[in-house]
Amino acid sequence: MQKTKLQEIIDVIDDRTGIPSGISHFMGEDIPASSGWHQIFGSVAMFMILVQFFTGIMLAFNYAPTPGLAYDSLRYIMTEVTGGRLMRGLHHWGASMIIVIVVLHMIQVFIYGAYKKPREATWMVGVILLLLTLAYGLSGYLLAWDNRAYWGTVVTTQIAATIPGLGPYVSRLLASTGDIGVVTFARFYAAHVLLLPPITMMLIMLHVILVRRHGVAPQVGDELLPKKKFFPEQVFKDTVAIFIAFAILFTLAIAVRVPLERMADPTDTTYVPRPEWYFLFLFQTLKLFDGPLEVLGTVVFPTLAIVAMLAAPFIDRGKMVKVSQRFVAMGVVALAAIGWGGLTAAAVKSTPPQKASALIDFSGPTQWMQLKSGELSGIYFYKDQKCEVCHNVTAGSVAKNGPNLLGTGGRHPAAWMLDHFKNPQKGNPNSAMPAVNLTDDQMKDLASAMAALTEENGDLVATAPDFATHGASLYQKNSCAACHQLNGEGGEMGPPMNGLASRRTEAWVAEHFANPEKMSPGTPMPVYAFSKAEMDDVLQYLFTLPDKAPGK
């Protein structure tokens, strides 16, 4: 047969480098007859790691690895770079999926007894790779530098500090002896992007070399059957699995928003830190032990679990038996699953709900924070009066019975709007609009909210959280603006509300509402008796105000 030109080129490359024949040697590996769908996890895990490397590098192209700027640049990636939200989504959800896949890989190998002699080293390298995967999760968690990242890392580093004897040194290594700061951040970043990836690559190579050295583990009965080739059947199965995993990852990255919380605030006393879901079981284990026994949960049990995993091939030295008869292995997996699931569920259940203000997504629209209290209060009354039943406030939306209210402020002066609210039929006898049931002051707020809605910011109504609109309506109702500045409006007798969050704690302000004289003697501020729900919303509203009034 005549050689094609392409074949000739490939032959030359093969002669000089050996790469093509190396690939076909790799692909042509003999695998046991029993090989099949249960062995796909290793390939999927490898693929997912490569996706993490890739998306991680892409994120780094637009990322400033220092506290503060890290947050700004991530927000830039998510709000201004096209495809940036997808890129972060892939990296974020990829991290979670790797944990799942690596654990499934491990369970499969464990149940099938594939860690037994002569594959002890393969298994042990795998255990170390699992630990590295967790280390990625731990170090990457801080890099968003939002409240979640900051407070999660505070807890993690405090746990590391309790290791008997070594604790102080670990703290020093992580630069977390004092506060979590620039040095801690640098250490976590360097570990995440410079230290861990090459180690991972080397260990994965070692892992694959060891798999090749000993061959894919056969099962009882395989010795009687002819061997199969890795390519194409097993490669096909692996590829299908990789494709499904990728499809899930891609869907998650598009469909599930990864929020960016408020920038890390070490003075926030209300934040409830929680680790990533795959660390919740450890977090819960910790709670089982008190006082001097705490070290059992932080160090002793996790260490024992790691040692037990590493030692599994030496504990179980029995011969290979059929999968269906590996009752002990299955029991161990089942017990571990129940333990893990129970602890995780308990941790989720014991998590108090985070305050609405802590969950604001700063990678979403936050223009409502710039609104004056009257405008924000007007949005509260817009919803309260169910105006949206007949009106739209977003550009290009489907028409409802009433007109779209974007740009109303440009068409009608406030006085016209007030008249219209009270007597809709005065201006238009055919109007089906009922009279607005609000006080004059409330109507003024509603009118100013309408005036604030322009073509660009109709989503203000949808994005302003309820606590903020309600808080602003209470701020208006109690005429706080008579003495206080807020977003550039109001009296100057009392201190400005912008920046309150960095000056006081919520508890202090709550106490101050109830008893101003006690908190700041001689203050002319009257007592405000808010209900619990009102107090909550007013406080959250005031504490989410921008630090500086817009435009200053």
């Binding site: 003999d30 996706v51 890739f54 892409m58 192209f61 637009n62 400033a64 700027l69 700004d72 640049s73 927000r75 830039y76 709000t79 201004e80 770079v81 096209t82 495809g83 940036g84 997808l86 890129m87 009687l224 059957l225 002819p226 061997k227 199969k228 080739k229 390519f231 194409p232 059947e233 490669v235 096909f236 590829t239 299908v240 990789i242 494709f243 990728f246 891609f250």
Partner: protein, 175 residues
């Protein structure tokens, strides 16, 4: 049954896998994954980030005292957004009041390779020291490698104050 009995059944005589269906499928699935990563990546890297509002004209200084035909270097503060950072930085312009009282503000960099040029009193020309481009005070290239006249700021004079906006290249190379 021995091992050697079975191994040959997996392949054809020429060593190619018998079933070609999974092979094509492997390539297709990989190609889809590759495209799903490559296309967003190209968009991510190549599409310019969504622009933010350009800052309005800024005050560069008083121009009532300028001598016609004598370039003066004026500096001013510009606020702009660089990626994720809001910056306030110093910019300079070579400002010329022409004899017809029109005012032009040139960008401070040579249009050849971006070196800073300066004004030579003796010859009444702008000279770039890097590759010896001469510009007239009208911004035209007199000699040297510069491909186009000096870039100009968008300007406006309000109450004798020079208001400076964005830098725009002058269209057309040497006439």
């Amino acid at each position: 049954m021995t091992e050697s009995n079975g191994t040959t059944t997996a392949s054809n005589a020429d060593g190619m896998p018998r079933r070609s269906f999974p092979v094509a499928f492997i390539y297709i699935l990989n190609a889809i994954i590759g495209a799903a990563l490559a296309i967003p990546t190209l968009i991510y890297l190549l599409v310019p980030p969504k622009g933010r509002k350009q800052s309005a004209l800024v005050d560069a200084g008083d121009v009532s005292q300028l001598t016609p035909g004598v370039p003066v270097e004026m500096s001013f503060q510009v606020s702009r957004v660089d990626g994720w950072k809001a910056l306030t930085e110093k910019r300079t312009a070579w400002v010329v009041k022409h004899t017809d009282n029109t005012i032009v503000a040139y960008g401070p960099q040579c249009t050849h390779l971006g070196c800073a040029y300066h004004y030579e009193e003796a010859t009444k020309k702008f000279i770039c020291p890097c590759h010896t481009t001469y510009f007239s005070i009208a911004g035209e290239v007199l000699s040297g490698p510069a491909p186009r006249p000096l870039d100009r700021y968008i300007t406006k004079v309000e109450n004798n104050r020079l208001m400076v906006g964005a830098l725009k290249p002058v269209d057309g190379s040497k006439a």
